[in-house]
């Protein structure tokens, strides 16, 4: 039944309230709590990822010009892995966790019990529209919640694909998709949720948190930032540039929250780095990257204009050392390198989210840490070096959501590592068990076993600390 105001513009506050009411009722009926229900949903989703692979790849191509390889590796495979791993571990995650107790309090047993929060809202983003919709939904289901998914309207093909596909695979009484833009999202945000997870930019992140404050709803905000890459002179330059390039242009053409945003390197080393990067770019994308099929396009003309603006200020455009080609019709911008743009220019103060890579130089590589720390904390920070001391200084001295050393992006593919930001790059984390935990309430449970009570000794101790007991 399309009771969700199927046509955009018809999903208003009333429809949102009805939707939440329905899902809450469903939740209170207890269905989503059972292990079997959760695993049924996850198995169905895993099946969907196999059966509808082509549809998903096509939708991603339509929305973003995303190369099939990227769609397969970054969106489908990671989602599949999320499902598989969750299915494997869920039973153990759901078990209460015993904790130790001590003599002064001596409840003889204490446990932490995981329970679902209730009805969860997932607001997804446009750059990995499939993965960033499915991954949180998988976590919410694993924890036993009912879920509403609001995919990004800026990736409309994926949004409508999700709307079309999910009812055929999962339980619509507890899992729903609402399509739409700002009015629909606002209607949803006015409701009382038990948790909200939002992936996107910090401006909207503030709006989401302010709306959540009205209902005292806890939130996870996966935001962005300018992810710096520090490149030391002591590196294997060939491997380093490949890993930087695949994390930058190989991830939705730089339109990824964890993509390298800018490079910091030593002044003397910069020319070598630039040459190596140029040749890597040629290997990856050929002599004419605008013709390469292996690059996502810019998502829409708004973002195209935004990125163009970053290049167009005169202090910046003269710093282009490679690339800079643009095709507004095709929404393409070629991989572009810039050297030493002014640090107060727009390209160095705003998150680029595109195929431009500024390189900032310093006299001594250690100065790079101060530059990074003087800016808002990013979602990810990267360092390329063979120098262990420098590595330690970086890990200890730079704050970011996550870090990779001699690599980019990969830390988010490890399900044992939490994925989330800090400061301006967000709050809360998910992936793997962290997803389960973030969508659960961890209830403290304590009980007193009669048998344990050795009356007198305990009684004396307690009398000493003043509890009036028998």
């Amino acid at each position: 039944m399309d009771g969700d105001g199927e046509r955009k513009g018809e999903f208003d506050g009333k429809a949102a309230a009805e939707l939440v009411g329905e899902l809450r009722q469903s939740f209170w009926n207890g269905k989503t709590r059972s292990y079997d229900w959760r695993t049924d949903q996850l198995r169905s989703l895993a099946r969907m990822l196999v059966e509808k692979e082509k549809d998903i790849i096509d939708a991603l191509h339509e929305d973003l010009g995303k190369p099939e390889m990227e769609s397969f590796i970054h969106e489908i495979s990671l989602a599949k892995d999320g499902c598989a791993r969750t299915l494997k571990e869920l039973k153990s995650w759901m078990k209460p966790q015993k904790v130790s107790t001590s003599i002064t309090t001596f409840p003889s047993s204490a446990e932490i019990v995981s329970e679902p929060l209730g009805v969860v809202l997932v607001i997804s983003a446009w750059n990995y529209p499939f993965l960033l919709s499915l991954e949180p939904v998988v976590g919410a289901i694993a924890a036993g919640n009912a879920v509403v998914l609001k995919p990004s309207e800026i990736a409309p093909a994926t949004s409508s694909l999700l709307k079309r596909l999910l009812p055929g695979y999962v339980d619509s009484s507890s899992i729903r998709v609402v399509e739409g833009g700002v009015p629909e999202t606002t209607a949803l945000l006015d409701q009382k949720w038990d948790k909200i997870i939002y992936t996107g930019n910090s401006k909207v992140g503030r709006i989401v948190m302010a709306a959540a404050a009205k209902h005292l709803t806890p939130v996870v905000l996966e935001l962005g930032g300018k992810c710096p890459v520090v490149v030391d002179s002591k590196v294997d330059l060939d491997v380093a540039t490949k890993r930087i390039a695949v994390g930058k242009w190989g991830c939705n053409n730089g339109q990824a929250c964890i993509s390298p945003d800018y490079i910091i390197t030593e002044r003397e080393f910069a020319p070598k780095l630039i040459e190596a990067m140029k040749s890597t770019l040629e290997i990856f994308y050929g002599k004419d990257p605008m013709a390469s099929k292996d690059l996502s396009r810019i998502v829409n003309s708004n973002h195209f204009k935004r990125i163009s603006k970053l290049l167009d200020s005169d202090k910046v455009s003269e710093k282009i050392v490679h690339g800079g080609q643009r095709d507004e019709q095709a929404l393409k911008i070629s991989p572009t390198l810039l050297l030493d743009v002014p640090q107060d220019s727009l390209i160095m103060t705003e998150e680029i989210f595109g195929p431009l890579l500024p390189i900032i130089t310093v006299d001594d590589i250690h100065q790079s840490f101060d530059i990074i720390n003087s800016r808002p904390k990013p979602l990810a920070a990267y360092l390329f070096t063979k120098d262990k001391k420098l590595e330690e200084k970086f890990v200890r001295g730079v704050s970011a959501g996550g870090m990779s050393i001699n690599e980019t992006v990969l830390h988010i593919t490890n399900p044992g590592l939490p994925f989330g930001g800090v400061g301006e790059s967000g709050m809360g984390a998910y992936h793997g068990k962290f997803s389960f935990d973030t969508f659960s309430h961890k209830k403290a449970k304590s009980r007193l076993l009669k048998a344990l009570v050795n009356g007198d000794i305990i009684g004396i101790i307690l009398a000493l600390i003043g509890w009036p007991r028998a």
């Binding site: 932490i112 935001l223 996550g402 304590s446």
Partner: protein
Amino acid sequence: MGTVEERLGEMREAFRSGKTKCEKWRRSQLMALLALVREEEEGIFSALNRDLGKHRAEAFRDEVGVLIKSINFALSSLKQWMAPKSVKVPLVSFPSSATVVPEPLGVVLLFSSWNFPIGLALEPIIGAFSAGNVVALKPSELAPSSAEFLAEAIPRYLDGAAVKVFLGGPSVGSQLLEQRWDKILFTGSPRVGRVVMAAAAEHLTPVILELGGKCPAIVDSIGSSEQKVAAKRLVAGKWGPCCGQACVGIDYILVERQFASTLIDMLRRTVKSLYGDSRNLSRIVNRQHFMRLEGLLKDPSVSASVVHGGRFDSDNLKIEPTILLDPPLDSEIMTEEVFGPLLPIITLEKIGDSIAFVRDRPKPLAIYVFSNDEALKKRVVAETSSGSVTFNDTMIQFAVDTLPFGGVGGSGFGRYHGKFSFDAFSHEKAVMRRQFLLDFPLRYPPWNETKLRFLRDVFHFDYFGLLLVMMGLKK
């Protein structure tokens, strides 16, 4: 003293200097906090007595003793908490490793409440310092002696650049909320909790809200030999902590109709024996709350349900332990958090009905169940939601360092105590390290059908492992 901005600037400088990062500094601050609590005990007792008429024994049990325990627990666990945790890298991980590195958030803001004004101010500081942060503390102005005590004692014991006390009322609170913090922990009412979270949203500051709620005690029929113990725990759990003015104190009792009179009898006798001398009870914090509580009994149908107590001493702001039997469910005493020495008892047809009763209401910070019926207990755990559930006792979960202390739904979100305090004030940074060896061309563009086909075959068997093949972590 300086303005809020100036003092905040000093704190930011202190954090930037990096001194809070080392274990030595954190340990020294925790030891200094321990010294403060031990050496200034008399000062603490007299502040609590002035603010709340709290008896020294209660003050020690609920505030001083708890702090000593918590600080010692933190001191003995600090090294372990601070250590980076290795994480498995799926399949063959050479030469890469993954760790989670805890790091301080920075400058944190703590709002403490008036009912445990020393305990709830210093307990979060234990966590904040353990995690290496710098702290701004805004104690509640409704407990002014305690606030002044903290403002005076803290600079004498702790690092003055790393912890600052801000005295004042709502206007000081507002000024503080205009600034950008790295985390805020707020203990208090849901109304102010909303204000704090809305202010935090402007700066994307994560928050922990420790709020309240109506904590029910579900009292099943228990053997007469156990009734005495249960009655003591119920009475101590209601009036013991700050005369009912506690977020985890019992708010109301649910009992089967047929046992109500037995229960009430036991409670009355126990109240007389434990709190016959009113000096063993804290007073109501101020006139405003006193009048609020008086107001709860104004409704004639509510006052008619009083079966014990009901005397109000407005000169001394004392209210005697008062028990009510079945006040109307839509009366204010049953819709608002009581936060005082009035104890409504609601009778039910069957004790199993208590599940639905609790579920129909906002999620409380704690649910207490006195019962030997395992099935009932299981149902409570599975079918209700609350910050915590405690069986056959009250309040103790507060003092267990290994249990998270926090609410859910209307009772708040986030948690602390023990290691959860350390975690609350830390950012868990994911770190992956690789080397330059073993790079695998399959992971790089230009893409072609061969690479894709290979990956498909390979992903068919083990998705993640083969992702690693492609990423070059496994040949």
